[in-house]
Structure formats: structure tokens, C-alpha cells
Symmetry: C2
Subunit: 130 residues, 2 copies
Amino acid sequence: MVQAQTLSRNQQIVLDIIEKAKGPLKAYSILFNVQKKGINAPQQIYRALDKLIEMGKIHKIESKNAFVACRNSDCEISKATAFSICESCEMVDEISDAKLSKYLSSFNHKKGMKFKRFNLEFFGLCKKCK
Amino acid sequence: MVQAQTLSRNQQIVLDIIEKAKGPLKAYSILFNVQKKGINAPQQIYRALDKLIEMGKIHKIESKNAFVACRNSDCEISKATAFSICESCEMVDEISDAKLSKYLSSFNHKKGMKFKRFNLEFFGLCKKCK
DNA sequence: TAACGTTTGTTATAATATAACATATTTGAG
DNA sequence: CTCAAATATGTTATATTATAACAAACGTTA
């Protein structure tokens, strides 16, 4: 079972770094940042990332192979995620829009497939880069 | 400029394989399949894939690092893509739903970002795997 | 036909991710 | 409490995905 509250040492270390970051972090950049804390191997990072994703504490931005903290209670355990991604400065913003989320969560494919989960990535230029 | 019609030799070889495939193909699996045709290096595959994506002939399934042929004229040069992905058998189906596409294409983020493009991936179990 | 852009070929390497195994720690049922 | 099961850790090695850099060939088209 996925634990509800408590994070293990490594999980907490990794989550702290991701939460403090201004943008999405890559696994190896997290690794380089925690080597002073005694974490030396990619496996240790990837294991923590996997658990944090399961718990819904972070999300993976698939198009960037990078990770951001979840700022959105609506996506409850990452069943319904949407992001806005700037193609210039790489900024990523989690979209929390109840209508959008509802619309997509209830979307059903014609071919009879029932969806459990979706991930949506929007791309453009953010205010600053426009 | 992106060429309109003609594909180069390598581009055609790569596209043929992707179009014939039943499911998404990974870059290195494409590579192994074309070594008999004199293509030996990953670069050759990735270059062809990049151009085919630009031309809208194929799409990348970001969550799988794999590539599928475009079956949908609606997504015109990959500005608006949506896929249905089976978590069991790995089947990928391109969704072409005008309403969905229109809804998302006109979606505007509250924070003032104007989107140029989106990619949506739905996950679940397909008919067979259900 | 010369200049430019595009494609190709090639070698090397970077970046991302998992396998496999041994040990330690935590948790919960009895 | 206590021991068995589940979870987490540490570690080495390796697999997978992707790009850098450079030289040569090809194909437009002015």
C-alpha cells in the first residue's frame, strides 16, 4: 500500500528539492544536488521519484523528462493532470481548472475504452517570453 | 522550410516501417529493423523522425518514447494531438474528435499564456484488455 | 555552375532509466 | 513484544534514449 503521510528520508530530500525549485527538475540534476546528503546513485533518485509520483506529491512532465511538485489538490493522485509549458523559458505551470478537468475526466473514447487517467500538456510562450 | 511532399530516402524508409507497425515503435527498434537497408546509426533514425514529426507524418507518444503514424488530418502539423493508450497491451490509438480538439484549441490559460499546441494522453484499458 | 540548404554517413558521447542483489529499517498481525 | 512481511536503502553494473560534431554528397535554383 502507498503510505499516506510519512515520507522516507530519501523521499523527503528529493521532494524538498523539487518543491523549492522554480521550474521542473531533471533526475540527474536532482542527483547532483543531493550528493552532499549522501545520495550517490541514480536508482536512489528514481526510486524516490516513483514513490512521490504514486503519492501524487510530484508529477512528471513527459515532454521534458522532468519533475515538478504538485500544487493542485484537484488532480488527486495524478489522475488528471494538465500543464502549461513555455517553449522559450521552459517554465511549467500546473493548470487547475475544474471545468477542464471535469470535461476530460468524463471524456469517453468512441471505441469503448474507459479512461482512468489523462495527462495534458499545452505549449506556447509565457507572458514574459511573448 | 519544411518540404511539402517528397520524402528523402531515409525518411521514407522510417515512415514505411512506422506506418506498417501495429503499435508505437521505439527509435532503436526502428534502427534494428532498417540495418539491412544500410542505416546503421541512431542519428540517421532520429533525424528522419524529427523531420517526419515536423511534417506531421508521425507523432511522438511522450509517455512511451515511441512513435506512431498520423492517421488524422485534423491535427494539422501536430498542433493538436490526443491519444488513447492501453496500460496493459500498450496499444495506442489516435483520437480524432473535432469537439475535443476545438475545445482544447480554444482553451486559454488564466495566466495569460496563449497556446500554440497541445498534446493529450489518455490511459486506461482497451476493450481487449478489460 | 556556383552557392546554399538539406540530407547522409560516421564516430563518439551524453542523458535518461532500469536490473539485480545485498542489507537495513519499519510496520503490523499474532 | 516479536518475528515475518513489506518497504526502503545502498551499490555496481548496464540498458535505453538521444545528441554533438564533423565531413561528404546531393539537389535545388539563381
